[in-house]
């Protein structure tokens, strides 16, 4: 068949370009080589660094226990690629199969993988964002700057937004005895991701560890001194907090602007792709030469009603990159769907938080093991009578069980007996997620609706 000939040629001497040289990009490149891709491979990254690991940046690096320039991702195998680092991709010509670069160059491709991820959402008032002492935390450079400033002993750090990153930064501050104020628009930390019941536990944890946590407030402005250094934050309740370091931790923005006008189905919510990681064009027709993976991708997940999910999770980036790479160089029947169950972890104030599934879909939560008061528990989220997610505080080793409940669509609430079931865990309670239209730092899993072309989606399991 001619199709097979061209696939063979692609595998032997094709040109694959990966835009985004972070976790997803690197793992995709490694998978391509591991699966025998012998053609040319180009990785394009806007940062000047080889792929590095981001989770330590808000944890060990801020604590001074690891250096930001020593977080390179371990290489699983040689990728024999051309690296275009420090140059952003600036455009895509789908018809001509070329990626345009910010330096004016162009890179032609036969298959393209887009893994441009997300960036920290900056403080919206530009002049205030420019003040000395105002930081975001997403990249290695961000971490170096922030860690350096924390080392010289600020009187107070002010964190805007109590999502995971903001909370981890607050934890790192307290660990080093630095005074910290956290301002959160919702009523508690982590509510966007985990809801109000768990958020209340997170709030107690913060306050007990000496965080000056202000909830239900907005930051109305940042004030600088005459030398251009930040000196105070103004809050919507009229209070003013004097500070010399502000960390803006308002979630992430997807890096899709460079695709504007390309005809690809890309926008602020990410790049829509099918379960096989093939990107849709703006008409909702799936392409066969452009793929997406990692934080920037949103794809339908059969476990969650085929809704499109965007997942800002480390494990998702790895799994999706591997599927994308495999499918890029495989014939239709050999392709695999990406059916990742969302999972992420955080560590803050000495507690390991881990979740599986999509908590923000849940309308109720039931504490099936342990106790909220002890901050050691497993909570199960229910949605329309089935288990949709679970979260654990220092209870990680049970989560595999709950993941299976999610995968098998087990009924909610789980009535069966479990070890360490307390009286508080006999009844489900409202999970208390804020109105999603209310802007906050947002969850790390976003349901982004249904594909315009969802009826055309046919999954091809590897082993029917």
């Amino acid at each position: 068949m001619p199709g097979e000939d061209s696939l063979e040629r692609l595998r032997r001497e094709g040109r694959i370009v990966i835009v985004g040289a972070s976790l997803a990009g690197l793992r995709a490149a490694e998978t391509l080589r591991a699966e025998g891709f012998g053609g040319s491979l180009t990785l394009i990254g806007d940062e000047p660094y080889e792929p590095y690991d981001r989770p330590p940046l808000s944890k060990a690096v801020l604590l001074g226990k690891a250096s930001a320039d020593h977080t390179e991702l371990p290489r699983l195998r040689a990728v024999d690629a051309t690296w275009r680092l420090g140059v952003a991709a600036s455009g895509l010509d789908m018809a001509g199969r070329r990626v345009r670069l910010a330096d004016g160059g162009e890179v032609p491709y036969d298959r393209l993988l887009i893994a441009t991820g997300v960036r920290a959402r900056p403080w919206p008032k530009e002049a205030e964002a420019q003040l000395d002492g105002v930081f975001v935390l997403r990249t290695r450079d961000d971490a170096v700057k922030l860690e350096r400033r924390m080392k010289i002993g600020p009187r107070r750090v002010f964190v805007i937004g109590a999502g995971f990153t903001g909370s981890e930064i607050a934890s790192a501050c307290r660990d080093q005895g630095i005074e910290v104020t956290v301002a959160e628009r919702a009523d508690a930390p982590l509510v966007g991701a985990l809801g109000g019941v768990v958020g209340a536990v997170a709030a107690d944890m913060q306050r007990e560890n000496g965080v000056d946590l202000r909830t239900g407030v907005m930051v109305t402005g940042l004030e600088g001194d005459s030398t251009g250094r930040v000196r105070a934050a103004h809050l919507s309740d009229g209070s003013v907090v004097e500070t010399d370091v502000v960390v803006v931790s308002l979630g992430a923005t997807r890096n899709t602007e460079w695709l504007a006008g390309s005809g690809l189905g890309a926008g602020p919510r990410g790049i829509a792709c099918d379960a096989g990681c093939r990107a849709f064009d703006f008409r909702g027709i799936v392409t066969d030469d452009v793929y997406a993976a990692g934080d920037v991708a949103r794809s339908p997940n059969p476990l969650f009603g085929y809704q499109f999910l965007s997942l800002e999770h480390w494990g998702n980036a790895v799994a999706q990159a591997e599927v994308a790479a495999h499918n890029m160089i495989s014939a239709g029947a050999d392709r695999r769907p990406h059916m990742w169950v969302p999972a992420f972890w955080s560590s803050q104030f000495g507690v390991n938080i881990k979740s599986v599934g999509v908590p923000s879909m849940g309308d109720e939560i039931m504490i099936t093991q342990g106790s909220l008061a002890e901050r050691r528990f497993t909570g199960v989220y229910g949605y329309q009578g089935r288990v949709i997610a679970a979260v654990s505080f220092d209870n990680t080793r049970w989560l595999e069980f709950y993941q299976r409940l999610i995968e098998t669509g087990a009924p909610f609430p789980p009535e069966f007996e479990t070890v360490d079931r307390r009286p508080e865990g006999r009844q489900p309670v409202p999970a208390d997620f804020p109105d999603p239209s209310l802007p906050t730092h947002g969850p790390t899993v976003t349901l982004s609706g249904y594909s315009p072309g969802d009826r055309q989606l046919v999954f091809t399991p590897a082993h029917p």
Binding site: G370, F401, E417, V419
Partner: protein, 412 residues
């Protein structure tokens, strides 16, 4: 129980040298339940893995007793409360966290690694001690004394007391063997409980002394622990210490002996280890899959009905998880009966999984890596004198009782 039952064959001493064909038979029935009131036996990798993470499965000694276990496991019978291996959360978590705070990360991230030099010295001394002998018993002369010496130093138990505590450890270990004929014997059970109490009393003397004069050992740390989880009661210190002392050597002795036996049966891998001591890391992982020192976990019960592969295991049933069978499950591992340290993926069940996964795993790994690398390097033309060697009685903590070897000498 008849000897023809699969469960009977697993515990039958006649099958100790090679239980793996029985496990293969076991895997044909995903949930084996041979007689009314008997245990539900699970032998497939994924089923075992799932059940190890299932919160409907209890490790609590009291639930086990209620499930019709013959052992007298209540706290009244021995005077010592159950150790964390026989408890569920939250008690399990609290005790294990306190024990861990003097053993591993985050509080003690370097404890095990800092013992590397000392472990090598002990190994060197033991191998030097073989002298000019041309025939040795690897168990009595190396694989037993090595981990005993290590756990004594780690806990702070005088090494010279080993003959004393061994007389209490042996009946205790024997009581872990689910040999139904013997465990129905009240004399046998009473001996085990007496032994546990005696061992506890012996350790109480040491703990009392450490409470007054703490030293750099785990007994001192356990006796004086004062973290977020509070302090341990004297009885909790003792039951934890008994657990660590026994688990700290009765398993590693088998891992090391199984290791040498397996290497001598696979001489090309022994030769590779001789040339590359770094291979010991992969060899030990594959050993934990291929010949795990803890063959099965017979002490779990379910506290709710559990649906597994179309069978309902009713609430209150005893469950046996046959780890060694899961490790040979062809559904999980390609060519499972081949010893192959080069496997790309050796996610074995040798240390269990879930909240009860082996507490001492990092120590056992390091001990066995150093032991096997040094034995490979220093023993000149070792040869098995008996294959299979004589095995210990125990079906759970399975390993050779002796491993007679002929050697050409000991290299410097």
């Amino acid at each position: 129980m008849t000897q023809s039952s699969l469960l009977g064959q697993i515990t039958d001493y006649a099958n100790r040298a090679d239980p793996y064909p029985i496990y293969a038979e076991l895997r044909k029935t995903p949930v084996l339940h041979e007689e009314e009131g008997g245990a539900y036996v699970i032998g497939s990798y994924y089923d075992i893995l799932h059940l190890l993470h299932d919160p409907r499965i209890s490790s609590d000694a009291a639930n086990l007793a209620a499930a019709g276990d013959d052992e007298l496991t209540g706290p009244d019978s021995t005077g010592l409360p159950p150790s964390f291996i026989r408890l569920d959360p939250p008690e399990h978590d609290r005790l294990r966290r306190i024990a861990n705070s003097s053993f591993g990360p985050p509080h003690c991230p370097r404890r095990i690694d800092s013992m590397r030099g000392e472990l090598s010295r002990i190994v060197t001394e033991l191998i030097d001690g073989l002298g000019d002998a041309r025939e040795i018993d690897l168990v009595d002369q190396f694989a037993y004394p090595f981990p005993v010496t290590v756990i004594c130093r780690l806990l702070g138990v005088p090494r010279e007391d080993e003959p004393r505590f061994r007389t209490w450890v042996d009946p205790l270990v024997a009581s872990l063997d689910p040999d139904t004929r013997r465990s129905a014997d009240t004399e046998f059970q009473k001996a085990a409980q007496d032994a546990r109490m005696q061992l506890g009393m012996y350790l109480a003397g040491l703990v009392e002394q450490r409470t007054k004069e703490p030293q750099d050992d785990m007994l001192s740390d356990l006796a004086t622990s004062q973290g977020a989880d509070g302090t341990l009661s004297m009885m909790e210190v003792l039951s934890t210490a008994v657990l660590l002392l026994i688990a700290g050597h009765e398993t590693t002795v088998n891992l090391i002996t199984n290791g040498m036996l397996t290497l001598l049966r696979n001489p090309e891998i022994l030769q590779r280890l001789r040339e590359d001591p770094g291979l010991s890391v992969r060899i030990v992982e594959e050993l934990l899959r291929f010949e795990p020192p803890v063959q099965l976990v017979p002490q779990r019960t379910c506290i709710a009905d559990i649906e597994l592969r179309g069978t309902t295991i009713p609430k209150g049933s005893r469950i046996w998880l046959v780890l060694a069978s899961g490790n040979r499950d062809p559904e999980r591992f390609t060519d499972p009966d081949r010893f192959d340290p080069d496997r790309p993926d050796i996610e074995h069940l040798g240390f269990g999984s879930g909240i009860h996964s082996c507490f001492g795993a990092p120590l056992a790994r390091l001990e066995t890596q150093i032991a096997l690398a040094e034995l490979a390097r220093r023993l000149d033309s070792p040869r098995l004198l008996q294959d299979p060697p004589p095995y210990r009685q125990n079906a759970v903590l399975r390993g050779p009782r002796h491993l007679p070897l002929a050697i050409g000498g000991v290299r410097p």
